[in-house]
Assembly symmetry: C2
Homo-oligomer: 458 residues x 2
């Protein structure tokens, strides 16, 4: 992102909102260090830690932001000797100060600025960044061990980041637009005889052409039942479904997270259509429930009920859908949560564990399936969540001795065998909670059976 | 890379060669940890540390290889609970042992295996990996501080990795083939009105379609004079040259590193042709010098002389080419070294500092330009190097007070002004030293003016 594109007023407001919640304790947030690829001089592209990036609007390697009362100071690393020789002219401190809307100093001034008072911080995601933090603060800084002022800062950051401002929504809309282009490109690039990686190339190149990157490692597979499947070597065969879980990161650092499924042949089979329609209905009902004041766990349960009802209707599950959901038998086919927070991180603020995802006093269920739900808050305007139900035929679940009683009681294996060309189907969109209900940020991406088949024809 | 594709015999031989050089001290090499993107559960694709990868042939997160006498043991992390649920069926220890060709144990057995004796190691590139090493070995492990047994191990690894075996050459050939496809795709995708990032999308998607990745962050720019230029936002305008420094990493973890330049319009201008021909001649002469027994510094000086002669011929430099090279005035336009080792790392074994690049008793020159030369060894069969001379008009150099005397004496600014549509040109190939001379691994990529213009027409 160019400095000239920064929304200075929005960034100032974010820092003011944080300062207002912080009280007297100053907060120091670090950008972190680039991630080494093979050796130090060959890193992945740098992307600052999300808390820093949120408040500064730019990824600046090795920088740190101090928010203290109404005043913020951005500490910049010194440019190395001969920097301009290798990197060309880059913006100076004054230009950065203007764009970010705060005072700028050299990082060598940091020690003096924070000496003699306690300073709150949040751990960088990268170990090098955490080393820099520990050196600056004179104490170890670790994820999963927040307490005292750090915990207070975490709560304040969650408060402001969880309610997306107009800038955040613009960025997420931009990431959604890129995902739209990618999924359409993936649908058009699919045909028998190609490989999963060919579809990936078509999808990811739409991000690169926008100057963007993926927001997480894409899943593009004919084995959708393998939930975390990052291989792309399979041949696409007539009769296969492709499951593509692919999202972009916008230039300003916000994520989209979208899943679509489409048939390699260009036409869904009757059995694929039947299961797809169940997942789509589960998603429709879940999205319809998204509104201020609604508990997200109930959105998950709504989609779970829809899946139970649908699988009973096609004969794969036997029994009463309400009971199925109560005992968790639907999770044999829908083992994960219906979604999560989304923002600068694809699972937004997951660096803070369940602090962002779970409201105070709530914690994870022990029931298989529900235990994987990443979000259990009451929804409020400005929150953004994914809604991503799915149905998967996972041998490791159906043959797991832990679940044999559930399987014996509720699953009709003969009926299931008729759906052997359905391994895994998930449908995922990004949904913003509005004051009156919800807005689907990724609504333009082909989703119904007809839309998908039409998009594949190009 | 699939386990079934591993060249077990070659891997066994690599470990035997290492063991033979090591003597009695066991060596323990770690794969390292994935690099965190935004939070721990959202990492970049994992790629093991090169020393481990070289000896094991596969990237296995959190694994460690013990080489002790003629015997190797691969220690594998335990699979997490429910691994098959999320990741599907993955190869078990027996399949891995067969493919890698050595004994396999759980990592929990590592402590007992290395207790009570000194063990040599080399630092992982990632801080998380180094933490794992330090815990296992009970001592801190840092890059740039190698001594004792670790230094001995570094020397042994350099000995074997620097002389590429048939497997390494196959992998580098595969990476070169991917670079060929990428550069041709980039040439075809270039036209006025597009952006640098569109060319990047065309190039990088050829890697993704092969299941490969870039071996370093690509440079694709109309400002070739900015040597480390990783932005891709510039518009391509009639009259611009594109400089593309883009290489692939093969499925087995070897790099290609290739630079080509082409005109946005499809036709080089007369001034661009003139400078391009000088760089091409400098590259031809440097490549011709590559042979066993030749000191790489002399290859660099050969290309430096060619650049000095060429720039004198077109009037940009004044004076005697030999004197120009002696005082380093050519480095005003060719500030970097003519190349470096290439192998699993694009700057091979740069994690070991200059240990791999500089022969014992040799060290970096203090002269501007020569000081950036990464390699000063006598070439030997099996070594692979890049040959990448360039000519750049860098304001930060030409206006640097340190060089004002050189500029005043040798540079004809008026003549230089006639070449204002040439900002930076580099031509780079990967060259294998053979017993009789050299083989250019990237020879198929369009390079002469005519070849490049023809490739742009498609």
């Amino acid at each position: 992102m160019e400095l000239s594109d920064l929304d200075t007023a929005a960034l100032v407001q974010r820092r003011e909102r944080l300062a207002a919640r912080l009280g007297s304790t100053p907060a120091l947030l670090f950008a972190g260090a680039p991630r080494v690829r093979h050796y130090a001089a060959n890193p992945f592209p740098f992307r600052a830690a999300s808390h820093f990036f949120y408040l500064v609007g730019a990824s600046i390697e090795g920088a740190a932001l101090l928010v203290e009362g109404g005043r913020s100071v951005l500490f910049l690393p010194e440019k190395p000797a001969d920097d301009e020789l290798w990197h060309g002219p880059t913006p100076g401190a004054e230009a950065i100060a203007r764009a970010v809307g705060c005072e700028v100093r050299g990082i060598s001034a940091l020690d003096a600025a924070i000496s003699a008072k306690p300073v709150a911080t949040l751990p960088c995601p990268d170990a090098e960044g955490r080393e820099q933090q520990a050196l600056a603060l004179g104490r170890s800084v670790r994820a999963g061990e927040l307490k005292g002022d750090d915990l207070h800062l975490a709560g304040a950051m969650i408060d402001i980041r969880i309610a997306h401002d107009a800038l955040a929504v613009r960025e997420m809309t931009s990431a959604a637009e890129a995902a739209d282009a990618a999924h359409r490109a993936g649908m058009r690039a699919t045909r028998p005889g190609r490989f999963e990686r060919d579809v990936r190339a078509a999808m990811e190149s739409t991000f690169i052409a926008r100057g963007m990157s993926t927001s997480y490692e894409p899943i593009i597979t004919t084995h959708g039942e393998v939930l975390h499947n990052h291989g792309h070597a399979n041949l696409l065969s007539e009769g296969d479904l492709v499951l593509a879980d692919v999202g972009a990161e916008s230039l300003g650092g916000f994520a989209s997270d979208v899943t679509r499924c489409w048939p390699v042949s260009g036409r869904f089979s009757a059995t694929q259509r039947a299961i797809y329609e169940i997942v789509l209905e589960a998603q429709r009902r879940a999205i319809a429930r998204v509104a201020p004041g609604v508990r997200y766990r109930d959105v998950h349960l709504e989609s779970s009920r829809a899946i139970a009802e649908g699988l009973v209707a096609v004969g794969v599950l036997r029994g009463d859908p309400s009971e199925i959901v109560e005992v968790g038998a639907h999770a044999l086919f829908f083992p994960h949560g219906v979604g999560h927070l989304i923002g600068m991180d694809v699972h937004d603020m997951e660096d803070l564990g369940d602090l962002a995802g779970y409201a105070a006093g709530r914690s994870r269920s022990a029931q298989f399936g529900l235990s994987y739900l990443r979000l259990d808050r009451d929804l409020a305007p400005g929150m953004a969540v994914t809604i991503e139900p799915g149905i998967y035929v996972v041998p490791a679940i159906l043959n797991d001795p832990r679940f044999s009683a559930l399987v014996a009681r509720f699953v009709d294996r003969e009926a299931l065998a008729r759906f052997s060309d359905v391994r895994g189907i998930r449908i995922e969109d990004d949904v913003l909670v509005t004051s009156s209900g919800q807005e689907v940020l990724t609504a333009s991406i082909p989703k119904t059976l007809d839309e998908v088949e039409a998009a594949m024809r190009g």
